[in-house]
Point group: C3
Chain length 516, copies 3
C-alpha cells in the first residue's frame, strides 16, 4: 500500500515537472503549488492527472512511462487550460472528463507512433484535445459551458488585452523592470497564468533543476526580444504567452534537452527563434479561420522539425542528439563527455563472456518465448550439473540454483551507462512483468555499442553510472529479478543505451560452442 | 464462367453487407434492395461497386479482399451519396466515374497503410472522395452538376429540414412512436435515406446477421438519446443522420465487432457516445468553414482512436480485441470462449513434426524464393527416395509424388481456428497465385501461438473450426493446392490466426537435423 | 579543390534539371539561364540552392543525394517564387534565409518518410514552406515584406489577370497560335514565369533530355485542353499555371518517369488529367479560405495517389514501376526491355562464388560492425595464407594483400544493371565513408533478383550497363575503394537494383563451408 502511494505520488509530481522536461521533485511540487494560484484551474489540472493515471494503470500500460508522468502531462495542461477558461457547472464536469479521456488516449497512441520515428510526444495531445473542445463550444451546438474572463484567453487569441505590462493586482507591490516582469509572466503562461509571482517561483524550481536549461531560457528570451525589436514583427511587443509556451520553450527543448548542450546546440536553439516567429504568424492565420488559438503548436512543430532533421544525418558529428534521456541537461552532458573521453583510445572491440566458468545457453538467438522479434538476438545463461539440472533438489528457493549469487562480469572495457538495482528478486516460479528487465546494468563500449546484463540480484550492483570498467570486472551478482521465473543471466549487445533496447546480433557463437 | 459469376455476385453482395461489418448474404441482398428505393442512388451505387471491382481485378489485387467487398464498399457509399445529391446529366457520369476511381485507389492505399498499424479502413476513402467532389462543386469552377432536393443533404449539412419526425409519404400509414421511427430512419441514413421502411428492412437483415450487434445498436441509440436529453446538446433532437452513421455505428463497431463482446466491450461502446458528440460538434465547426458536412468522419475518428488505444496495451487483460475477424460478433465470441476454455490447462508448449515417417526440408528458414522477409521462418517438407527424387518416374501427375495423399498431423494440442478446404489441386508445374496458400488449416495452441499447414488436398480436411485436436491427430492430406508447383507440405508457426500471417521462428531444428 | 568545385557545380545544375525529373546538364543550364529572365527571382533561386547545398553538406547528409540536387530543388522553387512575388528589402533577406532553411529541413525529413513507403518527395517541401510564408505575410502581424506585381501571382490566385493569351512585351514579335503560346507559357509557369520565350528554351532542353517525356507533355496538354473544351470547367480557358505545374507535369511524371513508358503508362498518364481537374477545383476551395493558392499540391497529390495505388499490386503485370531510376525515360525503357529479353529463358537460378580459388569469409551473415540489420545478409571475402594472414609483411600497401588485383567474377548469368568505377582506392587503414560502397557492379539475374560486388579497384570494370554476362565472366578486379580499410570483396544478393539496397539471404552456405 505504502509503496503504491509513493508510486502514485511520484507519478503525479512528475506529471508537473515533465512539462519543463524535468523529473526534479522540487520543481514538480513548485509547479503543482503554482497551479493552485488559480484554484479552479489547479484543481481541474490535478483531477485530470489523477483520472489519466487511473485510466492507463487500469488498462495495463507501461508502469515506467506512467511513473515519469509521460501519459498524464497532456491531460494536466488540458485541465489547467479548461479550468482557466470555463466556469464550473454540470457541463464543466461532463466535458472535462470526456476530454481528459480523449487526451489520455491520444497521449498513448501518438507516443507510440512518434517514438517509432524517434520523436517526442510534446504537447500535441493537449493541443488537439483543447482545440476539439474549443471548436465544439464555438459551434452552433449547445455545450452548456460558460466562458470565464481570462487575460490568457485574450492573449492567446491575439486580442491583445493581456499584453499590457501590468502585473495583476496582488503582485503590484513588486516593481520590476518591464522586461524582467515579462520574462516571469512568460514562464507562468505555460500554466495559463499571467503572473510575475508564479514566474518567479517557477524560475526557482528551474534553477534547482538545471542551470543550463535556465540560462538558455534567459538567452532565448533576450534573443527573441531583440529579434522583435529589429524586425518589429509584433508592434506591441511579443505576446507573453507565445514567449513562454512557444519561443523560449522550443529553444530550451532543442538546445539543452534533446541535444547534448554545446556551443552548436545553442546555435541551433537560437536559430529556432525566427523559425518559431514564422510558424506563430503562419499558423495563427490558419487557425484564426476557426477562431482557434494556435496554443503551443508552433513549439511542437519547430521542435519536431529540428529533431527530424538532425536525426536523418548519417554521422552525428559534433552536434549530438541525447542518446539516453536523463531528464537533466547537466547529467546528459556529463554522461556524454565522460563516455567520450574514456572510450577514445578504443578502436575495435572484442566481447568476452559475462561470467566465470562454464554456463549453458538456456535460450539462444531467436530461440523462444521471450527472445522474440526485435529482442531476438539475446542470450540467457544458466549453470547446469551433470544431470542437466539447473538446481539442487528441491529447487524451490533461489539459493538452490547453481547460478544464483555468482558474479556477473563486464564483457569488455567501457563506461557504466545505467544501473537499476532496486528490484526485488522473485520467488521461484513467479515473474515480475512490470519491471520486466529487473536489475540491469548497461555498459557503453563505443559510440553505438552497448551491452546489458539483466535479472541481477537486488542491491548487488558494484558499479554506478559513470564508472569506468575493465573487461572482467565484477558488475554484480546473478539474481532473479524482473521477468525471470528462476535465476538466470540475460545478456545482450545493443546499439542504444536504453534498458529495453532492441538487440544486436554479435559474433559470440565461438564461446558458446565451447561451453556446450 | 459460372464460378466467376458466382465470385463476382458474392463480391457485390458483400460490398453491401460489409457496410454493417457483416458478410451475411441475406443482409447484403436486403441492403442492395433497400438502396434501390431511391432508384438513381441505388443504380449509381451498384455501378460504382461494379467499376471498382473491375478496376482492382484488372490491376491484380488480392482476390480474397475483393471477394469480401473490402475495396468496393467505399465506392458504394460514394455512389449512393452522389446519386442522392445530384441530378443525372453528362457531367454526372463523367465525375462519378473519376470519383469512383479515386475512391478505389484510396481504398487500396489507405487499407495497406492502416493495416500496418493494425487499424481498419472504415469509411475514410468515401469521406475524403465525397468531400473532394463537394468542394469542387462548391468552388468557383463549373462542374456541370445540378443538386437534387434531398432531405439527407439538408440533414447532414445541419440545415435541420430533415429532422422533423415525419416519415416520407409512402410510409405515413405506419404510425410509429417517434423514437422507434427515429431509430429506423437513423439506420436508413447510412444509405443516405430518411425512411422508416428502409430502416425496418435493414433491421430485419441485421437481426438475421447478429443479435449481439443489433442489441448494441438499440442500446447505443437509447443512451445517445438519453445523453442528449440531459445535456440538451441538440435542442431539436439528435440528427438522424449522425445517430445512424456516427453515434450508433461507432458504438456497434467498438462494442461488438472490433472487440470480443463482453460487459467491458459494452462499457467502452457506450463511453464512445459522448466522445462522438464532442467530435461531431467540433468537426462540424471546422468543416462548416468549407461548407462541408462531416459525413461519417466522427465515426472513423472515434473508432480509430479507441482501437489505437486498446492496441497499445501491454496485456490485453479482459478486454480482448478480435484476433481473427469472422465478420460476426457471435462467431468471434464463440471462437474466443472455446479457445480459452480448452487451452487454459496448457502452460508451455512443445511442437512435434506435422507428419509421420521421414520427410525432407525442401525449403528452410529464410532459404529461397517464396520464404522471404516476414514469411521467412517457414518450412517446406517433401518425401524423397534414395536417389533424392521426390517422385516416381515420370512425375507428371500428383499421384507420382511420394508425399501426395499422406496424412498431415496436428503438431500439438489446440483448437482449430480456420479451415480452407475448397481450393483445387494444381496440375504439376502450375501454380495458383490467387489463392496463394491453397487449402490450409490453422491451429490455436496458446494465446498468441498458432501453427498452420498449407497446400493440402482439396476436400481432405478432417477437422472444422472449433474442434479440439490432440498432437498427432490427422488434420487432412498432403496435396498440391495454392502456390505449389508440386505436392509438398508447408508448415509455419505464427503469432496471429490469419492465413497469410507473418511467421515466427521456433526451435524446431532438432527434428529437422534428425531427418536429414 | 577542383574536384570539389566540379561536384558543387554539378549539384547546382542538377537542382534545376531535377525539377523536370532529369539529370541532363544542358537542360539544367538552360533552366538556370531562363530563371534569370526575372533577375531577382533567378538570383534568389540560385541563392537558395547554394544555401541549402551548404547546409546539408555541413550537416553531413548523403553526398549522392546532394549531387543529384535532391535536397536543393525545393529551396530553388521557393527562392524563385519568393523573388517573383516580393520586393527586395531587409525583411526579404531575413525571411527567405529562414524559409530556405525550413524548406531544406523539410526536404530531408519528408524524403526519408516518403521513401520508406517507396514514394517520391516531389515539390511538397516547397508547397508547405511557401504557404507558411504567404500565411505569415497575410496574417495580422508585420512581416515587413512588400508584394511585387506579378502576373503569375494573380494567375495562381485565380484572379484571372494572367490568363489573357497575350505574351508579355519583349515577346510580342513572335506571332504564335494561341494554343502553342499557351503551351510554352505553361512550361515557363513551373519557374513562375509567363513567357513564350522561356517556354521555348525549356522545350529545347526537354527535347535534348528526352523525346518520350516531351511527347507526353504535348499529348497531355492537348488532352487537358480537349477535356476542358467538352466539360467547360474553366470557361476562360485553363490557367497556364495549372496546365504547366499540375496537369501536364503530373501526366509526364506518371507516364514517363515513375512508370516504364508503354501504352499502358500513357493511358494512366492521361487518366490523371481529369483527376487533376477535380483536385485543382476541390483544393482551391479549401485553400481559398486562407487566401492561399494551391501551388503544385494537385500535382503532388495525384502523383502520390497513382504511385501508391500501383505499388500495392501483388503482381506488376504489364504496367511496370521504374525499378532503378536513371532520370531518363529512354534509359529506363531500354534497361527494362534489355533485361526482360535476355532474362526470359532463365527459370531458376544457381549462384556461384564470385571469384576463383580459395577465399575466406571475413565477415558472414549478420556477423559484425558493418553487416548490420537490413544489410546483414552479405559476405566479405579475403584470401588468407597458412598463418591466416591476409597480407604479406608489412601489409602497409594494397599490393601486399593477397586478394588485391584478383579477378572478380559474375556469380551467374545476367545483365549488368549498374557500374560504379570512378572511386579512388583507399590507403591501407583509411576508409571512404562518403562513397560507402566504392566501385560496385550490380547484375540483374531475374526480375527481383540481383547481385552486387563492391570495393572494386578503380577503373578495373570490364563491363558496362546493358552488357550480358555469363557466370564466370570477369567483372573487374578486387580493390580497396569505399568503406574498406583493407582490400576485400563484398558480395550480396538483393531484390532491388540499387547500390545500397537491402540484402537477401540466399542459400550460399554450401560453397562457404567447402572453402573453410
Amino acid at each position: 500500500m505504502n509503496k503504491s502511494v509513493k508510486y502514485t505520488a511520484g507519478a503525479i509530481i512528475n506529471s508537473y515537472a515533465i512539462v519543463f522536461f524535468s523529473q526534479n521533485k522540487v520543481l514538480g511540487v513548485l509547479l503543482l503549488l503554482v497551479s493552485f494560484l488559480n484554484p479552479i484551474a489547479g484543481a481541474t489540472g490535478l483531477g485530470c492527472v489523477l483520472l489519466s493515471i487511473a485510466l492507463v494503470s487500469i488498462m495495463g500500460y507501461d508502469k515506467e512511462s506512467i511513473r515519469i508522468g509521460f501519459y498524464s502531462f497532456n491531460p494536466l495542461l488540458l485541465g489547467i487550460g479548461f479550468g482557466t477558461f470555463y466556469a464550473v457547472n454540470a457541463a464543466f464536469f461532463a466535458w472535462i472528463i470526456i476530454a481528459c479521456i480523449i487526451a489520455t488516449m491520444l497521449s498513448v497512441t501518438l507516443a507510440v507512433s512518434l517514438s517509432k520515428k524517434g520523436l517526442p510526444l510534446l504537447s500535441l495531445p493537449f493541443v488537439i484535445t483543447f482545440w476539439l473542445l474549443l471548436l465544439a463550444v464555438n459551434s452552433i451546438y449547445h455545450m452548456g459551458l460558460e466562458q470565464r474572463h481570462s487575460a490568457v484567453l485574450n492573449e492567446i487569441n491575439n486580442l491583445g488585452e493581456g499584453s499590457a505590462y501590468i502585473p495583476p493586482g496582488i503582485l503590484s507591490f513588486i516593481q520590476l523592470p518591464n522586461y524582467a516582469a515579462l520574462f516571469f509572466r512568460a514562464l507562468s503562461a505555460v500554466l495559463f497564468q499571467n503572473s510575475v509571482l508564479s514566474g518567479m517561483v517557477i524560475s526557482i524550481g528551474l534553477l534547482i533543476h538545471s542551470r543550463i536549461n535556465f540560462s538558455l531560457l534567459v538567452l532565448a528570451f533576450i534573443v527573441a526580444c531583440l529579434f522583435n525589436h529589429y524586425t518589429n514583427t509584433y508592434a506591441d511587443g511579443i505576446s507573453y504567452y507565445h514567449l513562454g509556451s512557444n519561443l523560449v520553450m522550443a529553444a530550451a527543448a532543442i538546445g539543452s534537452f534533446f541535444l547534448i548542450p554545446s556551443a552548436r546546440s545553442y546555435f541551433w536553439a537560437l536559430l529556432s527563434i525566427p523559425v518559431s516567429f514564422l510558424l506563430i504568424n503562419g499558423l495563427s492565420k490558419i487557425f484564426g479561420v476557426y477562431d482557434l488559438p494556435v496554443l503551443s503548436l508552433p513549439f511542437c512543430v519547430v521542435t519536431l522539425l529540428f529533431l527530424s532533421f538532425f536525426r536523418r544525418r548519417i554521422n552525428a558529428g559534433k552536434l549530438q542528439l541525447t542518446p539516453l534521456q536523463h531528464y537533466s541537461p547537466e547529467r546528459n552532458l556529463y554522461q556524454y563527455l565522460n563516455g567520450n573521453e574514456r572510450l577514445a583510445p578504443l578502436s575495435y572491440f572484442n566481447f568476452h563472456l559475462p561470467f566465470m566458468g562454464e554456463w549453458t545457453v538456456s535460450q539462444g538467438y531467436d530461440g523462444d518465448i521471450t527472445h522474440k522479434a526485435e529482442w531476438g538476438k539475446a542470450l540467457d545463461f544458466v549453470i547446469k550439473d551433470e544431470e542437466l539440472q539447473t538446481y539442487q533438489y528441491p529447487g524451490t528457493r533461489m539459493e538452490h540454483f547453481y547460478c544464483f549469487n555468482k558474479p556477473v562480469l563486464a564483457c569488455g572495457d567501457g563506461v557504466i551507462e545505467e544501473v537499476v538495482d532496486h528490484v526485488e528478486d522473485n520467488a521461484i516460479g513467479e515473474v515480475n512483468t512490470i519491471e520486466n528487465w529487473g536489475n540491469s546494468i548497461v555498459i557503453k563500449h563505443l559510440n553505438g555499442l552497448y551491452s546489458k546484463v539483466s535479472h541481477l540480484k537486488k542491491n548487488s550492483a558494484k558499479v554506478k553510472p559513470g564508472d569506468a570498467v575493465k573487461q572482467g570486472d565484477v558488475l554484480g551478482l546473478c539474481g532473479n529479478s524482473g521477468r525471470s521465473p528462476e535465476p538466470h543471466l540475460h545478456f545482450q549487445v545493443q546499439t542504444t543505451p536504453y534498458i529495453g533496447s532492441k538487440t544486436l546480433a554479435y559474433p559470440f557463437a565461438y564461446y558458446i560452442d565451447q561451453n556446450n
